[in-house]
Amino acid sequence: MTRAVVETIESVEHELGRYTGRSLPRTEDRRLLKGQGQFVDDTWMFRQGYVHFLRSPHAHANIRRIDTSKADALPGVYATMTAAEMAERCEPFFRIAPDPAARIVEYPLALKARYEGDAVAMVMAETRELARSAAELIEVEYEPLPAVVDAVEAADPRSPVLHEEVGSNLAWQGIYDYGDIDWALENADHVVRIERLHFHRFSSTPLECQGALVNWDLGTGQVEIVSNIQFPMFASQVMGPSLGVRQDQLLWRYQDSGGGFGNKIAMYPQVAALALISRKAGRPAKWTEYRSENLLSCGMGNERTFLDIEVPVMADGTILGFKLRAFDDAGAYLHYEPLGAVIWSQVTPGCYRFKHVHVDYTETMTNKCPTVPNRGYSRLQHLWMIERIVDTVARRLDFDPVQLRKQNYVQPEDYPYETPNGCVYDSGDLPGALDKALSLIDYDGARELQKRGSAGKRIGIGIGSTLDSGTNNFGQARIINPDLPFSGNGEAATVKLDLYGEIYCTLGTSPTGQGHETTAAQVIADILRVEPGDVRVNAGFNKEHSAYVGFSGTYASQFAVTGINAAIGAARRLRAEIIKVGAAVLGCEEADIVLDGGVASYRGDSERAIPLIGIANVVYANNAVLPPEIADSVSLNCRYVYRPPFQVPDPETKRGNLTLTYAIQVHACVIELDEETGQVRILQYGAVDDCGRRINPQIVEGQVHGATGHGIAAALHEAFNYSPEGQLLNANFYDYRVATALDIPELKTDHIESPSPFTPNGAKGMGEGGGAPLATICSAIQDALGPDAPLVSDSHNSSERVWRLLRGQESSHVDVSSR
């Protein structure tokens, strides 16, 4: 058995603090608030054409014939492409999944329609509107097939099969077994059994939809890609072999992005299609996704059904663990899946000291939009389920929900805490966070209010405790597929002293609104002892800067760890070079150099000094004055790759340290439930976050607000509804009810700072705490419904569902057996 080990980390916290930890205004906002941002759709290339993807109206259909001749004949149309043509011009995408799902043959366009919205052909034309009109002229003869839209049904061998080459709809199946659940169930004083819990489908609906402008330069062979994709280096690794190009031919860049939340990770099929039609037409190809297209086909969060849940509980309230079957719905294709089938296990016991866990996990493909990472990817489903378990145990065994949580939480003195599957929770204070959350909502007052009651209204109090595991160990992919050549993680940055003493940083990350320019400048300013305004951080991502590694991107709550520590590492290297040159010029030992205020000076004699412009001058333009051994050893252009201390997990036992940091969110709320309509009104909402050392508290606060709003919206409003035939019934903002400012209550926030001992700067990744409100609001609805009400078994609770719950019409059976 592999025992998880986390290396001792050299802390750099003592070098930070002048600007790190301060709520400096965001550098990015100056241009964004003035409308000077540069988004993909603002980008233009000479001779560009506009692309429209023709999407299938059927959820499942064979394509008997496609005729593009009428579209081709339309004046202003530059090119059309079909899947059959694509299949002749590129190789299928490689698969993360092991056999049999590894047999899936997928090209950038679909040879068979597997969900409503599947792109079956494309048109490039002079204008966006013309491309869309021309797409209407493409004649597609479909042979509709029966569809399957439920993950559990999809596992049934009698269900329609999406990918015939696989032979079933199975994306991945495996058993996670830790401790001894059979012993626990046998020896527990009580066993609580829950028939079914269901976590619904929703998305993140970023303000800016997906988009890309791709030019395949026929002369150089370079493929220039301007795209707001979130994880360009993952896309690069998938697309290179498919398109038959070298990695250095794929030049990714963009400046600003209007939000991603994970949804923009899996855009590579569209980008690859754009590359191929660009090569065919000899023109740059531009695609800007329509909102309805985004909702229909961009990607959705994982829907998960938990069945046959068994929870062993001791008489004193100690919960020993749980056993269940989970069915995850991957949708029609595995664009990032089945990684979700292991990523949930980063938080196997949730916030609790559960020792015995048995999860029989199945992921299936259905005739619905493919799933993609979505804020809290794969963990929020699992964490929501655990919170429903804890609430149900409290309710059915008559424990106080606050005390039950406090008793079972991982305790402050337990850290670093090793979970049953070898993950190591780094730091935290869950009971303290819960106390703060309860204080924010005036818990005692809320209970009084509940007791008093009022006609036609019910008061409910809810608690949700979740984790935001950040900085993936990609070695966990081997638990899914032992043949995958991935492990560890990393990020790159460069920090350069330029010719006139300017400090310039490039990052390997691809920001989508998190303030990377601001926070990187803060830490670099601390290391180099300058003002943050003296540091310019390149906006967006540009592969040509060579500040990237294979894992570069923005995902998995890791910038504060990977991106920032890469920037810190590069700044420290530059500092060492500056000091080395300064010592040579000033004729002293390096130890005698003090770097501060943009000047390297001799300790104790501020007159004996050289400014950064002078350092730059002697290296770039006057290097004959330097001793050769100095001149040859400095570049003032320092690159650093931060590598988190990971080991390769054991695929056999499914154990290992899968994630480096664990930010904590504990939320609490008070709701008022209208008995007549089922409408839920949030009266109080408190959110407590612990993400270790905060680099810029205001940015952290913004992320907490965003994630909380997102979670509240998902809990009460946002859900993708499919018909049994696989038709998405709400692919627009009229029917897909995105929450507005009017739906979000006044949020009360507080924080705890438990520095991570595993990161040089003590920070933890954060921003994916969107799961906590789902658990919190379900908990509050359950509390409001009263002791004899049916179980709140779904994560989405519209007024209609609450109305049905009030009338006992929704039910997932709960049974308790006691010794």
């Binding site: 023709l54 999407r55 299938s56 109206p57 059927h58 409503e116 919205g117 797409a135 209407e136 002229l137 493409i138 597609v140 329509y290 309805s292 909702l295 229909l296 509804n721 018909s723 035939e725 038709q727 998405l728 019934l729 709400n730 692919a731 627009n732 009229y734 029917d735």
Partner: protein, 143 residues
């Protein structure tokens, strides 16, 4: 999706029948018609381009008169196809009344299904829109 209704129109049964059973007359009553091709007295095709939240959503609709009881009842089966959406509609219209020249009663029922992006447009109000469109056509036919 199903919808049905009835309404009184200011046209005799004979007039209504002649307009509802004649594709060229019906063209006048149908909204957003751009083109009509008549194959025979029981089948014709129309290109309609109604404006929706997506902009113009052109549909080639093949209409088949599936059942006809002279002056009394007609059942139309319509299949429409756009690039990224299609629609099917089965519409039954019955004319009641004693032949009074001042008006007659029209009863109708429709069963419609949509595929593709059209299926998601205003899902909650689609039955009402369908009813409004059908009654609009009947009123236009009567005028």
């Amino acid at each position: 999706m199903r919808a049905d209704g009835s309404l009184s129109v200011q046209a005799s049964r004979e007039v209504m029948w002649s307009r509802l059973s004649d594709p060229r007359e019906l063209e006048r009553a149908l909204p957003a018609v751009e083109e009509v091709e008549v194959s025979d007295e029981d089948s014709f095709s129309v290109l309609v381009a109604p404006s929706t939240a997506l902009g113009e959503t052109p549909l080639w609709v093949d209409v088949q008169v599936a059942e006809r009881r002279e002056g009394e009842h007609v059942r139309l089966v319509c299949r429409g196809r756009g690039g990224e959406y299609d629609a099917e509609l089965a519409l039954e219209i019955s004319l009641d009344g004693d032949g009074d020249a001042d008006g007659c009663e029209v009863r109708w029922s429709a069963e419609a299904s949509f595929n593709g992006i059209l299926s998601a447009l205003g899902q909650r109000v689609l039955p009402a829109i369908l009813a409004s469109q059908v009654e609009g056509v009947l009123r236009a036919a009567a005028s």
